[in-house]
């Protein structure tokens, strides 16, 4: 039995194809403005990768901000539900999952069975999101993939006052003009983002183990900053952290198809 999980995020669509034999496709697609067409294309590509025909697909479950645009009359689930299911399957010790995506940050408290106890979300403001990090990396003229590594070379903690992404850009430029090393500015940006995320997650209560998912989990500088802010010795990070929502959706699809 083959099922699909789709996560239609602000920046990328992720698709996971599952069967009893395991995961057979992981596809990520950067959509254009036609979300529905992009989502259809993403699903088609995933079916090609897994060698599955459309009619073999028993069920599709979609999550993410753009989930209503998913093809094939899918069942829809919220992001916290999908995150919880996905992370508990990979890292069963997780009780708090922090998801930092392109335009949203989320803290979700979960049970050992992968059920959602409580969650907090920021989707109103770019501070504490991947968009903030990208904007700062651009101001510093650094590649986003190098940004985290560079922050780890910081020698001092420079305070950053601005929360707003737009104002933080100006502040970064002022720091550059004041000859502050890029590594120190990078660390300040990572610390500021981590403290926003930590404050949001504390609202639901932080219980160990804590896992980090979403695209920002690839950034080692952010991982260190978050560990520092939350005073954690270990922060669990699954393989392919940006696909956890899609995996969760696929697992929910499988459960629903079985019953």
């Amino acid at each position: 039995m083959v099922v699909a999980g789709m996560d239609l995020g602000a920046k990328a669509i992720k698709v996971v194809i599952l069967s009893e034999k395991g995961v057979s496709a992981k596809v990520k697609l950067f959509p254009d403005l036609d979300m529905a067409q992009s989502a259809r294309k993403a699903l088609e590509e995933a079916l090609v990768q897994s060698g599955t025909e459309l009619h073999e697909l028993k069920r599709i479950v979609a999550t993410g901000t753009g989930r209503s645009a998913a093809p094939g009359k899918p069942a829809l689930v919220t992001e916290p539900l999908a995150d919880a299911k996905g992370i508990i399957a990979l890292l069963p010790l997780t009780r708090t999952v922090i998801d930092v995506g392109a335009e949203e940050g989320r803290g979700v408290k979960i049970t050992p069975q992968g059920e959602v106890v409580d969650f907090a979300v920021n989707e109103k403001c770019a501070a504490g999101s991947g968009a903030f990090m990208e904007s700062m990396a651009r101001s510093l003229e650094l590649k986003i993939e190098d940004f985290g590594e560079i922050s780890l070379k910081a020698t001092q903690a420079v305070p950053m006052n601005a929360q707003c992404t737009v104002f933080a850009e100006s502040e970064v430029v002022s720091l550059i003009h004041a000859n502050t090393p890029k590594s120190d500015i990078s660390r300040a940006v990572h610390d500021a983002t981590a403290s926003r995320i930590a404050a949001m997650t504390r609202r639901v209560g932080i219980e160990k183990e804590v896992a980090l998912i979403g695209g920002v989990a690839y950034n080692p500088g952010f991982v260190e900053a978050l560990k520092r802010t939350l005073s954690l010795e270990t922060l669990l990070i699954p393989d392919h952290p940006d696909f956890i929502g899609a995996l969760g959706a696929a697992l929910i699809a499988y459960e629903q198809a079985v019953n």
Binding site: V23, K28, F30, L33, D239, L247
Partner: protein, 341 residues
Amino acid sequence: MILDFPQLISQWETLPVHVFTAHEKGEILTIGAGTASGAVSGAIQGTASGAVTEHWKWPEQSNVDLSMDWKKAARITAGIDVGSVSSQAVVLLDGKLYAWSSVRTGSSSPDSALKALNQALKNTDLTLEKIPYVVGTGYGRVNVPFAKKTITEIACHARGANYMGGGTIRTILDMGGQDCKAIHCDEKGKVTNFLMNDKCAAGTGRGMEVLADLLRIPIQEIGPLSLKVEEEPPPVSSVCVVFAKTEAIGLLKSGWPVEKVLASYCLAMAERVTALLNRIGVEKDFFITGGIAKNIGVVKRIERILGISALNSALDSQIAGALGAALFANALLEKEERGKS
């Protein structure tokens, strides 16, 4: 119950990720998703931010009243407002407006202050040495080296608005480059209460500049263009400037004409600042200062939401802070003189 199916997640670590963009047919990368997403997002951002002309900046301006003669004045005073985006200088002769300017703030506040003053005095033979009292205000006020005193921009805006619009003004909305303030004042222009937003770019001039830059439309044309819609569209739903920018791109690509996007954006900004105003309450008369007072698209919408009109002034709304500072300088100088005699 998913834990009953451990085989479902077999191959999770090893199976490669395939990454595509909707624009291209082909697959762009098949390696780790982390690096791929970074490279792609970088490329998309790169094309979006290549502006050459700086549409977002207000043109620099200056004016001098040549019917007045500074040599005959008993008291010459100046006010300098070093803002985050623009700086203004105002020169008064015996408490009456003589010359003013509005220039862009550079990376150095002292230089910007001097530039503003020189610009105001460029068509006169009056020089800084002959001005005995200068007051500095604005976010860069501590860096005006030739200022005798610094006064907050809130006090200065209220004082300036009182001069520009008269003693009946009780509520002032100052929409600056990086902040927005709602101020209550008495008949003498003395501040009685205020609220400000300086944490978030939404509802500030910076938000409008981001839009001007995105659409490549000169900032002074945004207001009039935004009023050219037959029917008012709903406001952009995002509060955050970063998200609103993305939303504006989406609306344009989906076929909205530019005027409609501008109308939607101006309305969102008007709603945002009226929320701040309503927290302290709006008492008549109402006056707007700062760069956004020159954006008729935002002003008209604020007036419609509040159900009252803002008082007009023949003077440029951006000089209110510097004018207030110069008026304080005049009063302080007068007091000094009285002390001596």
